[in-house]
C-alpha cells in the first residue's frame, strides 16, 4: 500500500463529506491510501495575485511545510501532497511554484514559520488526486476494480477554472483536457463533452452576488443538457455547491424538473467499485442523485 | 543558589528518599484516622482551635461569638461613607432583583431569576472586579454530584454532615445534595464539557471525606469551565452587569427591610443608588483577610464585604469561627506560595510524604483533618522539608500518579498545574511538589434558610458568603455545587418574591445606628470597612501616600 500525504481543505470536512469519504475509500482499494495531514490549516484560497502581500502566502507555505513533516509518518510515500478540492490544488500549486521562483520570498515566509519551528524547503510536489489516478495508478487498474459499470450514465465532465488555471496549476491540457473523460469511460459511463467545461460558475460571488452565479449555472447546465447529459461530474466543492444549489433555486422559480444531479468524480468511482452507499452523503445534495441512479438501476 | 530541576541540593536529598520508597508505596494504604484521632489532631493543630488568635464579637446579632481577630476587626469597623453625604432621593437604578456579586452564585441567581420570569432589564448585577473574577473560576478539582446508581443523595448528605462535624443545618445540606443532579443536567444542556470515561459515563474520582466516587470534573479547570459557560449563557440573556462597581452599603426602608444598595464605581469614584425589591447577596468569601497570617488561594477581591454589609443591616451570621485551610497549597517556589494544589492530585493517587519519603497521613481525610496532620508534621516533628526561604512543607508525590494511572495522566488531567510548575522549572511528572496548608474557604457566613432568605426581609443569600450549609468544614467539590444550587434557588425565589413586595423609603439609618453602637464600644483602634481590595503595596510606598485636596 502506497501512502500519500493528503490535504483535505475545509470543505471536505463540511459540505463535501461525500467527496472525501468516497475518495479515501477508493484510494484504499487502489492501494494508494490518502492519509490526512495532522493539524492542517487553510490553503489560502482564492490565491492572491499581488506581488507584495506575503502574509497571504503564509497559509499555503505552512501547509506544504506540515505536509513535508507528515511524510515521516507514512509508508512507501513520495514527496507528493495530494488534494481533492481543485481550489486548494490550484492555490498550493501556484504558491509552490512562486516560492521556487522567488527564494527571497520563501526566506521571508520561513522567517515567520521558524518561530513555530516550521520551515519549508521547496521539496514537495502538489498533486490533485486526478493526477495520481491518471499518472500513478492508471485507468487500467481503475477499470479492473469496477464491479458495477455505470451503464446509462451520460456524464458531462465540468472541470471548472481551478483544475486548469493558471498555467502553473493545470492538471491537464488547458484548452482540451481529457482526464475526467478518460476516468468516466473507465467506469463504464459515457462522457458527454460540453463546450462550457471550464466556464466559471461564479465561484465565491455566491456570498453576495448570487445572481451572477445563477446566470452562469444556467448556461453551464443547459450546455450539458442539450448534448444529452443526464449528470455532471466535478472536482470542486464550490462548483458543486453552486451548480447543485442554484439548479434548485431555478427549479423552484420556473417549475423545471430536469435538473442534472452533480457528482464528485470520486462518488462515481465509489459507486462503480461497489462501495457502501452512505459514504456518498447524497443526503447533502440538493438535486438528489439517487433518483437518477435508481432509474438507471445503479443502486 | 544552585537549582537542579527547580529544586535546591538540600531538597534534592529528600527527593531521593521519595524516589526510593515510591515502588514500595504504590500498594501501601495508610490507615484512616479514627474519630478520636481526628479530634486530637484538629484540637492540637488547626488554627480554628487556637484561642490566642480569636476574640468575641462586641456587638450585633452574633455578639459574644468567638471569631478570628481579622474577622472581628472587619465586623467592628466604621463605614467608608458618611450617610449624610449620600443623596437617596435620586435613584439611579430601580429594579426588581439586585444581585451583589458576579461569581458563580450571583450569575446563576441572575439567570434563574430570568428563567423564572423576571425580565433581564429588571435585574441588575453588581461586580467588584470583572464579571467572573471570583473564587469560582479557580476551583479546579470538581463538583460533587450523587448521580451514579452506586451513590445516592442520602450518602452524599452523610458525607457532607460528617465532614462538617454535624454542625450543618440539615435542611440546607439536604437542599445541597438533592438539587445536585438537576444542576448537572442544567450544565450539560448549556454545554459544559464534563469529563467522560471511555464508556460515555461521567468520569468520577473520590475526594477527601467522601465515601463514593462522586467528583465530577472538567480536567483541572472545572470551576473555570462551568463558570465560563454559565457566564456565556448570562450574556446571551442580556442581563445587565456593572463591573468595577461593588456594593459598599445596603439600603433599608423604614420597616428594616433591605431595599437595595449603594454601589461605588472604583474607577470613576461615584456612587449609585439602587432600589430593589429583593437583594441577593453573593459576594463570596474572605481569603484576602489572611486569617492567622496564612497565605491564601483566594482571588483578589475576597474581602468579606458582604458579610459585613449584612451584619450592619442586622442579619444573623453563623459558623464564622471556622475557616477552611486547604491542606495542599504550594509551599515552593516562593512566587506561588499559597496557590491551590487541587485535591484532585490526591484523588488521582498522590501521597503526602515527610522528608524521609514515608507517608505522613492518609491522603484523603476531610480537609481540616488533613491540613492539621500536615501542620503537625511541620510544626511538631522534624520530618518536614524546608524551602530556601524558610517555608516548611511536606511532599506531595505527584509522580506516583503517572506510576498508577500511566504516563501522560498529569498532562491530561492536571494541565493547569503542570503548566504552573513548568513555568518555574519544576516537572511535577518526575519530581514531587512541596505543599503546606493555605487559607481557602469561608466555612461560615450569613445565615439563611433553604429558600435562601436571610434573617432580615428583602435580603437573600447564596454562595460562599453564606453560613450553615457546610457546618464547620466544607468537603471538596461542595462549593462549586453550593454556588449553583443556592444561586439557582435564590433566583427562583426572588422571582416569586418581587411580585408581592413593596419597598418603602430608602434610608441608611441602620448604618448611622451602627456607628453610634461602635462609638459606645470604646474601640482602641478605629478601622473602616468594607475593605473592597486588600493592600499589597510595599511599606516604602504606603509611607509616602498622600490625599490631595479636590
Amino acid at each position: 500500500m502506497v501512502q500519500y500525504s493528503y490535504f483535505p481543505g475545509c470543505n471536505l470536512k463540511t459540505n463535501a463529506k461525500g467527496f472525501e469519504e468516497t475518495a479515501i475509500a477508493v484510494s484504499k482499494k487502489l492501494n494508494s491510501e490518502l492519509v490526512e495531514i495532522p493539524n492542517w490549516n487553510c490553503c489560502g484560497t482564492v490565491h492572491t495575485m499581488t506581488t507584495d502581500n506575503l502574509m497571504k502566502r503564509i497559509a499555503p507555505v505552512r501547509v506544504l511545510a506540515r505536509s513535508k513533516n507528515h511524510l515521516e509518518d507514512l509508508k512507501d510515500t513520495s514527496n507528493h501532497v495530494v488534494t481533492l478540492c481543485s481550489m486548494c490544488n490550484s492555490t498550493l500549486k501556484i504558491v509552490n511554484e512562486e516560492v521556487k521562483e522567488n527564494p527571497d520570498d520563501l526566506e521571508t515566509i520561513n522567517f515567520q514559520l521558524e518561530e513555530d519551528n516550521e520551515t519549508y524547503s521547496i521539496d514537495m510536489e502538489v498533486k490533485h488526486f486526478l493526477e495520481v489516478l491518471r499518472d500513478s495508478i492508471g485507468f487500467e487498474q481503475i477499470r479492473s476494480n469496477v464491479v458495477k459499470p455505470l451503464e446509462g450514465l451520460k456524464v458531462s465532465p465540468y472541470y471548472g477554472c481551478m483544475l486548469l488555471h493558471p498555467e502553473k496549476a493545470k492538471i491537464d491540457d488547458i484548452e482540451m483536457p481529457t482526464v475526467l473523460e478518460d476516468l468516466m469511460e473507465s467506469l463504464g459511463a459515457e462522457a458527454i463533452f460540453s463546450p462550457l467545461f471550464k466556464y466559471c460558475c461564479g465561484s465565491y460571488h455566491i456570498v453576495d452576488q448570487e445572481d451572477i452565479v445563477a446566470g452562469q449555472v444556467e448556461k453551464i447546465v443547459e450546455a450539458a443538457r442539450v448534448r444529452g447529459a443526464n449528470a455532471l461530474a466535478v472536482a470542486c466543492p464550490l462548483c458543486a455547491y453552486n451548480i447543485d444549489q442554484q439548479q434548485k433555486v431555478i427549479d423552484e422559480k420556473t417549475g423545471r424538473k430536469d435538473s442534472l444531479p452533480v457528482f464528485y468524480f470520486s462518488q462515481l468511482m465509489a459507486l462503480a467499485f461497489g462501495e457502501s452507499l452512505e459514504i456518498n452523503h447524497f443526503e447533502d445534495h440538493e438535486i438528489d442523485p439517487r433518483i437518477l441512479l435508481e432509474e438507471l438501476k445503479l443502486l | 543558589m544552585k537549582l537542579i530541576g527547580g529544586y535546591t541540593e538540600e531538597m534534592r536529598k529528600s527527593i531521593e528518599n521519595v524516589n526510593k520508597t515510591r515502588s514500595k508505596r504504590i500498594n501501601e494504604a495508610f490507615p484512616h484516622m479514627t474519630m478520636e484521632e481526628r479530634d486530637k489532631v484538629l484540637k492540637e493543630n488547626h488554627p480554628d482551635y487556637k484561642t490566642d488568635v480569636k476574640r468575641a464579637l462586641l456587638y450585633g446579632e452574633n455578639k459574644g461569638d468567638i471569631v478570628p481577630e481579622e474577622i472581628a476587626n472587619i465586623l467592628e469597623s466604621y463605614p467608608i461613607i458618611n450617610p449624610d453625604e449620600i443623596d437617596l432621593s435620586k435613584i439611579d437604578y430601580d429594579v426588581g432583583v439586585l444581585i451583589i456579586g458576579a461569581g458563580g452564585a450571583g450569575t446563576a441567581a441572575a439567570i434563574w431569576a430570568n428563567y423564572s420570569g423576571v425580565p433581564a432589564e429588571d435585574i441588575l448585577v453588581s461586580s467588584k472586579l470583572r464579571h467572573g473574577d471570583a473564587n469560582t473560576v479557580m476551583a479546579q478539582g470538581g463538583i460533587q454530584i450523587a448521580d451514579r446508581p452506586e451513590d445516592s443523595p442520602l450518602i452524599h448528605y452523610l458525607d457532607a454532615v460528617g465532614g462538617g462535624h454535624f454542625d450543618n443545618i440539615p435542611e440546607l445540606a439536604k437542599a445541597l445534595v438533592s438539587d445536585a443532579p438537576t444542576i448537572l443536567k442544567w450544565h450539560k444542556d448549556l454545554g459544559v464539557m464534563y469529563d467522560l470515561d471511555e464508556n460515555g459515563n461521567f468520569m468520577v474520582l473520590s475526594g477527601g471525606g467522601t465515601s463514593r466516587f462522586r467528583m465530577h470534573s472538567s480536567k483541572d479547570y472545572t470551576g473555570l469551565e462551568i463558570f465560563r459557560v454559565v457566564r456565556d449563557e448570562f450574556r446571551n440573556l442580556n442581563i445587565p452587569v456593572l463591573e468595577f462597581t461593588p456594593a459598599i452599603e445596603l439600603l433599608t426602608d423604614e420597616t428594616g427591610r433591605v431595599a437595595g444598595a449603594i454601589l461605588y464605581h472604583l474607577e470613576t469614584k461615584q456612587y449609585f443608588v439602587v432600589r430593589a425589591k429583593t437583594t441577593i447577596m453573593a459576594t463570596g468569601g474572605f481569603g484576602r483577610l489572611h486569617v492567622a497570617g496564612f497565605p491564601t488561594t483566594n482571588h483578589y477581591g475576597a474581602t468579606m464585604d458582604g458579610v459585613l454589609m449584612a451584619y450592619r443591616a442586622n442579619a444573623k451570621l453563623r459558623n464564622l469561627e471556622s475557616t477552611q485551610f486547604h491542606p495542599t497549597g504550594a509551599a515552593y517556589p516562593e512566587q506561588i506560595v499559597g496557590l491551590l494544589i487541587t485535591e484532585k492530585v490526591r484523588g488521582l493517587g498522590a501521597q503526602v510524604l515527610g522528608r524521609n519519603g514515608e507517608q505522613v497521613c492518609y491522603p484523603l481525610e476531610p480537609r481540616d483533618v488533613e491540613a492539621s496532620a500536615i501542620i503537625r508534621c511541620c510544626n511538631n516533628t522534624d520530618n518536614y522539608i524546608e524551602s530556601p526561604t524558610g517555608m516548611r512543607g511536606v511532599w506531595l508525590d505527584s509522580p506516583l500518579i503517572e506510576e498508577i494511572r500511566g504516563k501522560g495522566t498529569i498532562k491530561k488531567n492536571l494541565a493547569a498545574m503542570d503548566r504552573m510548575f513548568q513555568r518555574f522549572g519544576i516537572d511535577m511528572t518526575v519530581d514531587p511538589i512541596l505543599i503546606y496548608p493555605t487559607l481557602h474557604y469561608q466555612n461560615g457566613g450569613v445565615l439563611h434558610d433553604e429558600r435562601c432568605h436571610s434573617s432580615i426581609p428583602g435580603l437573600m443569600i447564596a454562595g460562599e458568603v453564606s453560613g450553615g450549609v457546610h457546618g464547620k468544614n466544607r468537603l471538596m467539590g461542595n462549593s462549586l455545587l453550593e454556588i449553583n444550587v443556592f444561586g439557582r434557588r435564590a433566583g427562583i425565589e426572588a422571582a416569586k418574591e418581587i411580585n408581592k413586595v413593596k419597598v418603602g423609603k430608602l434610608s441608611l439609618d441602620h448604618v448611622r445606628k451602627n456607628t453610634l453602637t461602635l462609638d459606645s464600644l470604646g474601640l482602641k483602634e478605629k478601622r473602616y470597612a468594607p475593605m473592597l481590595l486588600p493592600e499589597y503595596r510595599s511599606d516604602i510606598v504606603i509611607d509616602r501616600l498622600v490625599q490631595l485636596y479636590e
Binding site: 495575485m49 499581488t50 502581500n53 465561484s203 465565491y204 460571488h205 | -
Partner: protein
C-alpha cells in the same frame, strides 16, 4: 511601448505606478486586442469591459477605474490571464485594483450584512474566497 508623450500629473503617475507595483505587470504591454473581454465569462455583467478598464489604468484615469464594477465582478477564474497574447496577468491587474481600494477601504463587502441564513448553509470555501478578495 509607453505613453511618455502624454503629460501625466503626479496623481495619475502615482496611481499607475501603484497598480503596476501591486500587480507586478507592465500595464503598457497591453495593445488593446480585447481578447480578455471576449473570453470573460462575466463581460455581460461588467459596466466597463476588461480591456476598457486596462485602458483607463494606462491613461491614469483613477476615478473611472474606481467607479467601474469590472474588478468586483471578476471572479478570478484566470481565463483572461491564460489567453492574453501579451502574457499579461490580466487577473492580477483586476486584483491590484481591488487591493488598491481595499487598502483604503478594507470592507468592500460588509460582512455584518450577510444574512444569517445564508451563513448557515454556505460552503466555508465561499466565505474564505470572498473575504480574501473583498475585504482587506
Amino acid at each position: 511601448m509607453s505613453y511618455e508623450y502624454i503629460k501625466f500629473g503626479q496623481e495619475e503617475k502615482d496611481f499607475i505606478e501603484k497598480i503596476q507595483e501591486i500587480s507586478g505587470q507592465n500595464i503598457y504591454s497591453c495593445y488593446q486586442c480585447g481578447k480578455c473581454s471576449a473570453g470573460c465569462a462575466f463581460s455581460n455583467k461588467m459596466d466597463k469591459t476588461v480591456n476598457q478598464l486596462i485602458h483607463f489604468i494606462q491613461m491614469g484615469q483613477k476615478e473611472k477605474v474606481l467607479k467601474a464594477n469590472t474588478h468586483w465582478i471578476c471572479a478570478s477564474c484566470l481565463t483572461c490571464t491564460i489567453r492574453c497574447p501579451r502574457e499579461i496577468d490580466v487577473a492580477a491587474l483586476m486584483e491590484a485594483v481591488r487591493e488598491y481600494i481595499l487598502r483604503e477601504e478594507p470592507e468592500k463587502m460588509k460582512i455584518a450584512d450577510i444574512p444569517k441564513d445564508v451563513l448557515n448553509k454556505l460552503p466555508n470555501i465561499a466565505l474564505v474566497g470572498s473575504f480574501r478578495k473583498k475585504t482587506g
